[in-house]
Symmetry: C2
Subunit: 173 residues, 2 copies
Amino acid sequence: MQPHKRVMGSRANAKDEAMVKRTSFEGDSCPVARALEAIGDWWSLLIIREALSGQRRFGEFQSKLGMAKNILAARLRALVDHGILATAPASDGSAYQEYVLTPKGRGTFPILVALRQWSEEFDNHPEEIATILVDRKKGRPVRKLELRADDGRLLTQADTTLKLRPAPRRRSA
Amino acid sequence: MQPHKRVMGSRANAKDEAMVKRTSFEGDSCPVARALEAIGDWWSLLIIREALSGQRRFGEFQSKLGMAKNILAARLRALVDHGILATAPASDGSAYQEYVLTPKGRGTFPILVALRQWSEEFDNHPEEIATILVDRKKGRPVRKLELRADDGRLLTQADTTLKLRPAPRRRSA
DNA sequence: TTGTGTGGTTGCATTATAAAACCATAGGCC
DNA sequence: GGCCTATGGTTTTATAATGCAACCACACAA
């Protein structure tokens, strides 16, 4: 008989609501956390990346990314729920469905660019990176993303601060 | 005698090398995947975010983020291994250690800005976002991140393409 | 009607994450 | 020094997520 050292919940019978659950950032007030809630897992951004490069079919994502079909299905569902992808009834005639990016989905483009440029600049083996993002018209590499002030000055992290958002000021109703 | 808790490996005899493991993007040639390999999990970017806003101590991260100490420890170790954080021997006199951002760590700033701006633009409840990123000098909100061509033209996703990186052209030895 | 490809779901093993208990030092206090 | 507490973790245990393979449903073709 072990000294069952741990009383645990002691909630021997009740509802058993000690759910551990992978903490959600849904109600968090930090916009970074809120973004990660939607696309902060291992696969979502890669799916979006494929979608941005033109893939739309389940099988296309699956073969390009080499991921398990069940997680792909789960991720696609989550992305649709988050309004990042939408299901379109067809496109090539066949009665299958497709997954296309919504404006919200296409809006992730700067995130992907930022990730790419971070790898290009700091990766330990940048020579293993196969692709370059180029301006379509000239074919030349793009510049680094620029953060500018209202008046156009180029900003670094040190030039910025976080400020509390002013209260929404509700009308007295 | 404990019921030897878990068969675990059970590597009874043969190969048993069917390890499932959470697929790694380490060797992937896509820079986005390579970035996600380092900071693509649930907590790393939030830890980096706290570090960028000045936190350095284990307890500070733990209390600000409200995460379990064991995962915080694991994440900090991983971030140090990836060269994003470094441990500094002290700073306030006490013999404890601190975690400070390396240049590679500070280089993630555009990623965080991109995530923030994506939330600001597309979140379903943007009124719940508490903070605004402002220019420190003027106190006014910053502009959206800008992607520009070599010659300064502002680019959208549709104006860009991926090109294969030219071979490194090794000298004949 | 059988076959095949696409687009999934289900079952099971393994891994990661979470929460809480535990532990090892460091520093302060007497 | 001996005791206390705070800090900074590690260990233990439980639950959720992931990965793989097998299975299944339907569309379409022969």
